[in-house]
C-alpha cells in the first residue's frame, strides 16, 4: 500500500493498522492523511502547546473547543480565536483571505456566540517585490469583502512588511463573539440516538484536502493546488449565522461544529470523539453541488459555509423550517450511536469504518530534533560604536515614519467596515480596539500584535515580548488582560534549527503568560511557511482580550491636553536590536533584544491599570514599534497638539528615542493629577519629558515638526 501518496508516514500507517487490526482502505487512508496532517493533528506541536498556561479565574473554556471563552461578568462571555489561512492566501489571495475570515467566524459561531468583531494579521513581502502589490491588495480586499458583507466589523489588526514574506504572505484572522454563559454550545454534548445534520451550502469539489496542502512547503507547482482553494460566499455565511443563532436560541440543537479543514470528516469525527459516541454517516444524503463525487471527496471537501448539527430526532422538522426560512440547504446525514465507531455509508455500502478516537487522537506525535542555529550569535552582533547618530534627526524620523511596517495603514482600514453592529468605541489604527457590550457598562478591549524581528534575533525574548506588548497596550488603556489566542506561523519544523526557534518562541510566550497571569485559551499552528526562495521569519501572532469596567476607566491614546505634563515610565536604556529604526536606516536585522523581565511586566500592568482607572492621566500609550519617538509623534498628531520635550538622560539619544522593548509607556498627565500619578509609579522608572503646548513637537537636540506636518505624516482619523 502506497500510503505516502496520502501524506501518511510509515509509523502512522502502522499505528492505524494496529488499531484497526487490518490495513486501512484507500478512503480511510485519505481521511487519515488529512486528519493526521499537521494542520489538523498538531502532531509536531502538541507537546509544545502544553507549555502554555490555559487556566485562570476568568477562563470559561480553554483550548480544545472551537474557541476559548473568558468571563466578562454579568453572565456574558467573550469567545475568541485566531486562525491562519496562509497557504491559501499565498496561492489565491482574495479567496484565501476571504475564506480565512469566514472560517474563524464559524469557529466562534459554533459555540453559540454571535460574532461581533474581527481583527487581521497581515504579513506582506517587501513593497518593492513584484508580487507584493497584487498579494496585499487581494488579501485586503478578501478580508474586507467577506467581513463587510457578513456584517462583522474588522476593528483592528497588525500589518507587517518584510522580504521574508515575499513568497509566503501570512493572513491570520481573529474573531470575537459574545455568548450567554448559560447557553454555550459544545462539541462534547452529543448523545447516542441523535440526528447528525448538515446545514448550509452544498458540498462540492472545492478545497478538497486543503488541510494537507497547508501542511507542506509551497513549491513552484503550488499553482496546481488551486483546486485546494475554497471559495467564499459571505451571503451564505450571514444566513448561516442567523440560522444557527436562531436554532440555539430556540434550544433545538445539542451540539454543533463548524466545517473548516477536512470538512464533514473533521467536524463529525471530532464531535463523536469529544462526546464519546459513535456515528454513522450516509454520504448519499449529502446535498451535492457536483455529480459523481467520490465518497472520499465528500468526506474531505472544504466547501465553505457549512455547519454540522446534532439534534434530537424530534426537533428535525423545526430545524428544517428554520433552515428553509434562511434559504439554506439542510439534510439529516446520519445518526449517533453508543460506541467508538465511525462509519461512512455510500449507496448502502460501507466505504470507511474507523474509531473516532483513532481519527482524532490516534496520530503518533513527532518529536523533531532541535538544534541551536549556528548563525544565532552572528545575528546578535550589533556594535553601537559603529552606528553614528543621525546627522539630521528630522530626516531620520521621516525615514522611520515612512517605513511600510510603521506607516499609517489607512488604505487598508478604509476598506473594512469597522462599525457595523454599532459597538465600536475605538476602531482600527489605535493601539487598542475597544467595543462596548450593549446594555452593560463594561467595555471589551483587544489587541492583535507580533514582532517577528525580535523573534528572529532571540526567539525566547521575542516570544515573551510579543505577549507582553499586547498586555501592556491593554493595561495602559485600562483593560485587564483576561486571556489570549495565538497563531504560531513558522517554517518547516523538520529543520532542527527551525524547530529550535519554534520551541524557544513558545517557551518565551509561555513565560510571559505565566508572569502576567494571562492564559492561552485558544490558538492555531501554521508550519511549513517556506518556499524555495526561503523561510518566513518566526511569527507568533498574539490576540489578547481584556475588560475595562466602564467608559470612565478607559484611557485613550492621542488625547493630550494643553498644559499636561508628559511622563515616560519604564527603562530608558532599551535596545535597538531588531528595531524599526535599524530597518529605516537600511541596516541588517541584528542585535539582541532586551531580556524578558516578568516581574517588571506584572508590576507595569498593575500600575498602568491603576493609572487608567483612577483617572490619573488624560492620555496613555504603551511604547512599542518605533520606540518613544513614534509614540510622541502619534500622540502629538492625533491630539493635534505640540510639546516641548527634553531628554535629560546620559543614555545615547538614538537608543532613548528609537529603542524598543521593555515595559514602557508615554503618559500625558494634567497638572493637578501629577502627585497622584507619581504615587502610582513610585518605585518604577519614571521621568518627566516635558509639557504639552504650542504648535510643534520639539525634542531638544533632536527633531522638531509642526503639528500640521505631523498630521500629514501620521494621517489618522
Amino acid at each position: 500500500m502506497d500510503f505516502s501518496r496520502y501524506g501518511i508516514r510509515k509509523e502512522e500507517f502502522e499505528a492505524a493498522s494496529s488499531v484497526l487490526g487490518r490495513e486501512p482502505n484507500e478512503c480511510e487512508l485519505r481521511i487519515l492523511g488529512v486528519m493526521w496532517s499537521e494542520h489538523c493533528s498538531y502532531k509536531s506541536t502538541k507537546r509544545l502547546l502544553r507549555l502554555f498556561p490555559n487556566k485562570g479565574p476568568k477562563v470559561v473554556l480553554g483550548p480544545g473547543e472551537n474557541a476559548g471563552i473568558v468571563d466578562l461578568g454579568d453572565g456574558i462571555g467573550a469567545a475568541f480565536k485566531a486562525e491562519s489561512h496562509n497557504h491559501p492566501s499565498a496561492v489565491a489571495p482574495y479567496q484565501g483571505a476571504a475564506t480565512g475570515v469566514g472560517g474563524i467566524i464559524r469557529d466562534i459561531l459554533a459555540l453559540g456566540a454571535r460574532p461581533v468583531a474581527s481583527m487581521d494579521g497581515l504579513f506582506f513581502g517587501d513593497p518593492g517585490h513584484p508580487r507584493t502589490a497584487a498579494l496585499s491588495s487581494g488579501i485586503v480586499r478578501g478580508v474586507g469583502d467577506y467581513g463587510n458583507a457578513v456584517g462583522v466589523p474588522t476593528v483592528g489588526g497588525k500589518t507587517v512588511y518584510d522580504p521574508a514574506y515575499n513568497d509566503n504572505p501570512l493572513l491570520n484572522a481573529f474573531c470575537l463573539g459574545f455568548v450567554k454563559l448559560d447557553r454555550i454550545v459544545s462539541s462534547q454534548t452529543a448523545r447516542p440516538g441523535q440526528a447528525v445534520i448538515l446545514l448550509g451550502s452544498k458540498t462540492g469539489r472545492d478545497g478538497i484536502a486543503g488541510a494537507a496542502f497547508a501542511s507542506v512547503e509551497l513549491s513552484d507547482d503550488s499553482k496546481e493546488s488551486r483546486p485546494s482553494i475554497q471559495i467564499g460566499d459571505p451571503f451564505a455565511e450571514k444566513m448561516l449565522i442567523e440560522a444557527c443563532l436562531e436554532l440555539q436560541e430556540k434550544e433545538l440543537i445539542v451540539s454543533m461544529q463548524d466545517m473548516g479543514a477536512a470538512g464533514i470528516t473533521s467536524s463529525s469525527s471530532e464531535i463523536a470523539a469529544k462526546s464519546g459516541v459513535g456515528m454513522t454517516l450516509h454520504f448519499d444524503r449529502v446535498p451535492l453541488r457536483e455529480k459523481d463525487m467520490e465518497p472520499w471527496e465528500i468526506a474531505l471537501s472544504e466547501s465553505q459555509e457549512r455547519m454540522l448539527l446534532i439534534a434530537e430526532h424530534g426537533k428535525v422538522d423545526e430545524i428544517m423550517s428554520i433552515a428553509e426560512k434562511w434559504e439554506l440547504d439542510c439534510a439529516v446525514i446520519g445518526e449517533t450511536f453508543e460506541g467508538d465507531g465511525y462509519s461512512i455509508l455510500f449507496n448502502g455500502e460501507e466505504v470507511a469504518s474507523l474509531p473516532p478516537s483513532l481519527i482524532c487522537d490516534g496520530c503518533p506525535q513527532i518529536h523533531w530534533p532541535s538544534k541551536l542555529p549556528v548563525d544565532l550569535e552572528k545575528r546578535r552582533e550589533l556594535e553601537l560604536d559603529d552606528l553614528p547618530l543621525p546627522d539630521d534627526w528630522n530626516e531620520a524620523l521621516d525615514a522611520l515614519l515612512t517605513l511600510p511596517s510603521l506607516a499609517p495603514k489607512q488604505w487598508i482600514y478604509d476598506q473594512y467596515d469597522s462599525m457595523v453592529q454599532v459597538n465600536t468605541v475605538k476602531g482600527p489604527g489605535h493601539p487598542v480596539s475597544v467595543l462596548r457590550v450593549k446594555g452593560r457598562d463594561s467595555l471589551v478591549a483587544m489587541v492583535f500584535d507580533a514582532d517577528p524581528w525580535k523573534c528572529y534575533l532571540d526567539p525566547f525574548r521575542g516570544g515573551a515580548e510579543t505577549v507582553a506588548r499586547t498586555a501592556r497596550a491593554l493595561a495602559v488603556a485600562g483593560a485587564e488582560p483576561l486571556g489570549l489566542t495565538d497563531c504560531l506561523n513558522f517554517p518547516s519544523p523538520e529543520v532542527p534549527e527551525q524547530y529550535w526557534v519554534l520551541e524557544e518562541c513558545v517557551k518565551g510566550m509561555a513565560a510571559c503568560c505565566e508572569a502576567i497571569g494571562c492564559p492561552v485559551v485558544s490558538g492555531n499552528v501554521s508550519l511549513y511557511n517556506e518556499s524555495p526562495e526561503g523561510a518566513i521569519l518566526p511569527t507568533p501572532v498574539v490576540g489578547t482580550v481584556g475588560i475595562i469596567p466602564s467608559f470612565r476607566e478607559y484611557l485613550p491614546s492621542g488625547n493630550w491636553d494643553e498644559g499636561d505634563v508628559l511622563f515616560m515610565v519604564g527603562p530608558c536604556n532599551t535596545s535597538l536590536a531588531g528595531s524599526r529604526y535599524l530597518r529605516s536606516r537600511n541596516l541588517p536585522l541584528s542585535g539582541r533584544p532586551l531580556e524578558f523581565w516578568g516581574e517588571a511586566e506584572k508590576d507595569f500592568i498593575q500600575r498602568a491599570l491603576r493609572t487608567a482607572r483612577s483617572g490619573a492621566a488624560s492620555s496613555g500609550r504603551a511604547i512599542a514599534g518605533g520606540g518613544l519617538a513614534a509614540a510622541l509623534v502619534k500622540d502629538s498628531a492625533e491630539s493635534g497638539k505640540g510639546a516641548a520635550v527634553s531628554l535629560g538622560i546620559p543614555t545615547r539619544k538614538d537608543v532613548v528615542l528609537f529603542g524598543e522593548g521593555g515595559a514602557r509607556a508615554l503618559y500625558s498627565v494634567p497638572m493637578g493629577k501629577v502627585p497622584l500619578f507619581k504615587v502610582i509609579w513610585n518605585g518604577y522608572p519614571c521621568i518627566v519629558l516635558g509639557r504639552v503646548g504650542g504648535s510643534s513637537l520639539e525634542v531638544e537636540d533632536a527633531f522638531g515638526f509642526t503639528v500640521e506636518e505631523l498630521g500629514k505624516k501620521w494621517r489618522i482619523r
Partner: protein, 234 residues
C-alpha cells in the same frame, strides 16, 4: 410613532437601526421579514436598512427590490407614508424605482468605511426638520456602490426641486471634490422623493447616534421624524 424595519436576507444594519431608534426615541419598532406581504398595521415609518441584501450578487439592492414585502412598502409610500432607505436600503429604493437615479461603484473601485461630513441642504423634510439649514453633520459611510448618478436633465430637475437633502462636504461645509468620498454627482449623499416622504441616503445616521461611539449628530435625524409625526404628519 411606529417603525417597521424590513429585513432582507443579507441585511446587516437592521439591528443597528432598531437600536438607534429605540435608544434615541424609545418608540416601538417592528421587524418585518422580506417574505411578509403586509406591513404591521399602523406603521408610520418603514426603514430599509443597510447591508448586503442577497449578497449584492446581481446588483446592489436589485433582488431585494423584488421581494414580496416591497409591494406593500410601495403602497405605504404611495399613500404618503414615510420610507427611509439607508445605504443598501437606498440602493433598494432606486432599484424599486421609488427614488430616481442609480448607485454605481465608488470611483476608487473599493469599499470605503469612514466618518464623513455632510451638509444638510433641505430642512423642510420629515427627516431633517430639526437641523438648521446648511448645518454640517458627521455620519459614517460604509459602502462599495455609493456613487450617485442620474442623467443630466434629471439631475437638474432633482436639484431644482430641492430633492438633494444631504451633500458630502468638508468639515467647514464646502461641498467640493475634496469632500466627496465616492465620486457622487454634485456630492449627493441623500435625496428625497418629489412628494417629500421617501428619503434615501448612503451615510449611516444610526452609527452616529451615541456619544460613546464617537458622534451624536444622528440623534437630530431621528428626532426630526418623531417631531414630524407628532405634529400630525403621516
Amino acid at each position: 410613532m411606529k417603525t417597521a424595519v424590513v429585513i432582507f436576507p443579507g441585511s446587516n444594519c437592521d439591528q443597528d437601526v432598531i437600536h438607534a431608534v429605540r435608544t434615541t426615541l424609545g418608540t416601538e419598532v417592528a421587524e418585518v421579514w422580506h417574505r411578509e406581504n403586509d406591513l404591521p398595521s399602523g406603521t408610520d415609518l418603514v426603514i430599509l436598512p443597510g447591508g448586503f441584501s442577497y449578497g449584492d450578487y446581481l446588483r446592489s439592492g436589485a433582488m431585494a427590490a423584488r421581494s414580496p414585502v416591497m409591494k406593500s412598502v410601495a403602497r405605504h409610500g404611495g399613500k404618503g407614508g414615510l420610507i427611509l432607505g439607508i445605504c443598501n436600503g437606498f440602493q433598494v429604493l432606486t432599484e424599486a424605482r421609488l427614488l430616481p437615479g442609480v448607485l454605481l461603484p465608488n470611483r476608487t473601485l473599493s469599499f470605503i468605511c469612514r466618518p464623513c461630513f455632510l451638509r444638510v441642504e433641505n430642512t423642510a423634510t420629515p427627516f431633517t426638520n430639526r437641523f438648521p439649514k446648511g448645518q454640517v453633520v458627521q455620519f459614517p459611510i460604509a459602502h462599495g456602490d455609493g456613487l450617485y448618478s442620474l442623467p443630466e436633465d434629471e439631475l437638474k430637475a432633482l436639484e431644482d426641486r430641492g430633492g438633494v437633502v444631504f451633500r458630502y462636504a468638508s468639515p467647514e461645509g464646502i461641498a467640493d471634490d475634496n469632500g466627496n468620498p465616492n465620486g457622487s454627482l454634485n456630492n449627493i449623499a441623500g435625496i428625497i422623493s418629489p412628494e417629500g416622504n421617501i428619503l434615501g441616503l448612503m451615510p449611516h445616521p444610526e452609527r452616529a447616534s451615541e456619544a460613546l461611539l464617537g458622534g451624536e449628530d444622528g440623534c437630530l435625524f431621528w428626532q426630526s421624524i418623531l417631531s414630524f409625526l407628532e405634529k400630525g404628519g403621516r
